[in-house]
Symmetry: D2
Subunit: 371 residues, 4 copies
């Protein structure tokens, strides 16, 4: 992109520093891992400031009591943050913030989003509430009624590299799921270029345990998850319809009808804190599709993109952890296209992409605050 970087506080450049006021934003539900990650990112952001921490708990906590690593570190690049969480008061949020990041459960997101939009607050929703266009698909995947079909219609799916223009105009951005982000960025250019078949796609994925949230569960203790590895939700994970929808809507040639089975998505649980690696298997559309061709497609698709890196060797999770980067390698071997994509599930797979979307929605440089 043009003037990426932490430059001038407004994507169209212009004014001197005196003209500059950091955009005030709210984080609703800051006590989970995506909330903490958002906070740490925005602390380094030269053009955004956390003005409001909103908690649904009866007794609102101090955020630095929840996360002692924040004590003394709430003086950010754009001002100091008040550590005291406040109630989810829509009027107060609207009075003080231009945009709200929602790190709430799906159902709570559907409750608060309409009230914030009504009051003119832009919303980046990190839940799954507004990701699936068809409420019946949503209801089947998530097991509860979709209570805000009205806003679902205009919600923009915030896969920034693909949807940048729509995000810029959005009032409500549905921040993509972690697994779908990596899968879609890896596959869309290849599908659009017609070098891989739309049918028979297999997304074999592995994620760190932070993807399961902060709530302790029997299978997420160190003793159970440590030194372990397993597949789960084989072919029935909630992110499978999201991947299918994105590939379907994102590929003009597919809109008429996708492979009846769609993508097969098989996630695994890694014994680490963070990171997603997806090893994706596709069928080349012809014998002429070779490694050079698939890498060429990716390289052209992501030329100028600050966060997506096509590379000729396979990435590791260390290459992307704690960055907003997406590293993608593709090759043709044994008659298959094998694509390996790596992201940090808490950054590009959640809070980093949320800030990227917010930057675009607020007219800030897209890379501001993101490393």
């Amino acid at each position: 992109m043009a003037d990426a970087g932490t430059s001038n506080g407004g994507s169209r450049g212009a004014g001197g520093p005196s003209a500059f006021t950091p955009a005030p934003v709210a984080i609703l539900g800051p006590t989970g891992y995506t909330g903490l990650e958002l906070l740490e990112i925005i602390l380094r952001h030269p053009g955004m400031r956390v003005e409001y921490l909103g908690s649904a708990r009866e007794k609102q906590p101090r955020i630095d009591a929840e996360f002692p690593r924040l004590v003394g570190r709430l003086r950010g690049a754009s001002g100091t943050i008040n550590p005291q969480c406040e109630p989810l008061d829509h009027d107060a949020i609207a009075a003080r913030c231009r945009l709200a990041f929602l790190c709430l459960p799906h159902e709570a997101a559907m409750e608060h989003t309409p009230k914030l939009l009504e009051r003119g607050v832009k919303v980046v929703d990190l839940s799954a509430a507004y990701r699936l266009k068809d409420p019946s698909v949503y209801e089947k995947a998530y097991g509860h009624h979709h209570s805000d079909a009205k806003n679902l219609e205009h919600a923009v799916y915030g896969l920034t590299e693909i949807m940048r223009e729509q995000v810029a105009r959005a009032r409500l951005c549905a921040n993509p799921g972690c697994y779908p982000t990596a899968a879609a960025l890896a596959l869309l250019p290849l599908l659009r270029a017609g070098v891989i078949e739309p049918g028979g796609l297999i997304v074999n994925a592995a994620s760190g345990v932070s993807g399961a949230g902060r709530e302790p569960k029997p299978n997420t203790t160190l003793v159970e998850a440590g030194e372990n590895f397993s597949a789960y939700g084989i072919g029935v994970h909630r992110h499978q319809p999201e991947i299918n929808q994105t590939l379907h809507l994102g590929t003009p040639a597919l809109r008429a009808g996708v492979h009846p089975h769609g993508v097969l998505f098989v996630p695994h649980l890694l014994p680490i804190e963070r990171g997603i690696l997806e090893t994706i298997y596709a069928t080349p559309t012809s014998g002429k599709v070779d490694t050079a061709r698939v890498m060429d497609v990716l390289t052209h698709a992501y030329a100028g993109e600050p966060f997506v890196l096509p590379r000729t060797d396979a990435p590791t999770l260390h290459d992307v952890q704690r960055t907003n980067g997406v590293h993608i390698n593709a090759r043709v071997v044994s008659g298959r296209v094998v694509i390996v994509a790596a992201i940090d599930n808490l950054v590009k797979g959640a809070s980093g992409q949320a800030v990227q979307n917010a930057n675009v929605m607020l007219g800030l440089p897209e890379t501001a605050g993101l490393a």
Copy 2:
């Protein structure tokens, strides 16, 4: 010891194999980590067989549904185990078992122990219920009333190497805590030999997360406990009075009165499954006490002991994990005696020592089933 090893199924030798019947035992509360460890140990035991798995849950589980790693592996060295847990029926246990291992909460242990003893079942209790001789000390440390002072009197503290003769005659064995096992085996010989001062002892310890049990807790998830390390219960941990009691009672010269502050015990939480390493600081009783002298004391104290290994270099946890071993190094440096002791908290610190005690109580070779 005399005929250690998995030899002849009776410590006094005698009969041929036809005379041999594995001792039937019960495990009560087998669904926690110490229960699983007990089961895996006894599966390899040539002279002991798990006859009864007793669960306090309303609906008794199959143990191989709780722990799928047991499926197909319940054919042990001394017969096959029935995976179906049964209720805590004292009469049934007495009818079928010679000894019961109790892996129950402290309060449940005090409830079931008297009923088993009455029926002639020997008990090895892995809870803390019978470790502290003074009920008021117990109540202060554990925060609830001690409801079985009667059996407390004759309970034998099962630090096998130190209490072997008493254990052999015991009907009720209080299996020592994990931290106290390492601390007492490291310190008692040096205190008895008069080479270290009884006052000012510091036990700096670190344990794997399995020590916190199988129940998920906010600080034991992989995300929280992984890549982390911290001190807890500084000077106020429940094992501090247990260590003090053992050193006091185990050292003739101390019985008249110990240092007013006793031991200072500072445990830490390691980001691993299992293992305890204790780095212990003591003051030599004279300038003549050097490394050779303290190692000599340990070597003599543990000559012939199958599980305790005094060594001249510092042990690591890998040296003892999944064994019943206790590795101890001691040296004099900077005017201090520094002792490093390593055990596996689930083996020598719990289920391994429990089997060692049961072996002694049942007249089996002490090392049977233990590696």
Copy 3:
């Protein structure tokens, strides 16, 4: 000992304990991870004793100096092991041992195997030297000349469950690779039953770091491999031809000709010590092939097998670590057969299967020493 373990040291029963002499064996190259694992297994073996530890190092080490966890633990179920390694003296080995386990580099295995066989010593070779039937395939995969084509001809590929009869008659057993063991046991029954297509198979695998050996490498340090995950050797790993050969030779219908590309094998490096999980993708041969059918095939194929467990839910690595078990789950979803297989790479994937093969070769109970 009398009749502990899986009976009496001879698969056809017979004599009393006095008639029983543990089979003396050699471990050549015991200072790596498979050597240590072998030693720990054989220590628990009621019918096998390590008589000879042979090292190629100029100054032969004591094995308990290499691995301090062995100090004091070399008193096994079948006698005590001499910790002192000896030179690779073929005559001495032949004079004292019935069978040798070779944990040597591939090229050293080709050098020593002929000399041991000549002297009447049976060999279980844990290297890759005798796995691939076609020397030219071997040379391409391993990058050096195959110097013992003569013995290659009669070497038996020791995938015990599939090759039991041949193993029983073998003088030289090529112990399978870790990844191929899991892949072949998962796929062969389904290929043989004709429920999956032989073409288009994808084996997506992940292994713990011990699979890379004991030698430190830049990518196996804790800092590099910890909290990380990555694919490597995509479609070009040495185990790919081994998997192809096993599926080809093991499936009568395939012998006439396999899919031109064969299996696509994609291994990944897990941030753990041990364990292999393979997630395998196949195409059902008809729309009638459903989950019940594939599970039924596996259940029948492995009925009575002590180590292979078909199961209806997906296994985790904790279910098989430190056991010789193979847990296999299969299902039909999104038009694919998805199979998940789990083993411990150091046990069923190396030293456990080696002991299983040796048991069969020596007429001992197949499960002896194995949990």
Copy 4:
């Protein structure tokens, strides 16, 4: 950028943004872990730019080939970094840089430092070369001759909070060791206030594996270091004399003579990437010294310090990892003062403190670039 970050690029304020030019610096030896950490910190620094990456390797690498996570991320807050490493050319460095960070081996640091100082380049040396004032103490601890006694005399020990004024005037800053940083910041205020005895101090410390550097070693592989814990260098570690010197020189009352044995320092190796936790034991100078008093001393000593946080509960490593923070808890229990201090060994224990010192030396805001 204008005024993002901790103000305006000069601690004394002054000029507008147009007057602002980021300070050009060199990193010599950037391919180790401290080099990478420095680079990542300075990328976020609003007033510093890496102008020169100097490598001693014959063929200078690209830094983003060494660390693929840097690809596409070298556009920093103060400009873009050239990824190509250059030779260690003192003239070129002097022509282009105001300050050099040395991440070289001790002996190389002594070779290059004089040449850089001669040419007017300020130096922050992250090796141990200039930490110990007495060359004979250095030579005993590090086993080689000190070849630059001349510059040793004026080198300033960069424990910033204690030595701020001297650092501001320094041309050569000896960046403190990781362990000594935590120990000295924890102990100096208490020694100065006279609430703890100078004799009998015990520093029980534990560090992540990154402290051992990037070079693979037999004990730092994931298999050996993972799920492990051990003590090393008990009482003889190189950082023990550094701690002694700092406490001695930093405490006026001690200059006349310290306890004959000095501090006893016992480090341990944690199975994690990064972080140091020190549990320190001291003797209170009187029975009146209680928890309130020791916390009060720390709170006053560090009032206004941006990075040092005295706190009433014990810190964990998660509280400080990837920050420049030092969290310190102290309490009196069982007649002892127990202090727990946590830092990130690669940040406050190395590269973060190096940037903090460089900020002070260059007149930049001390917290610039540091979180």
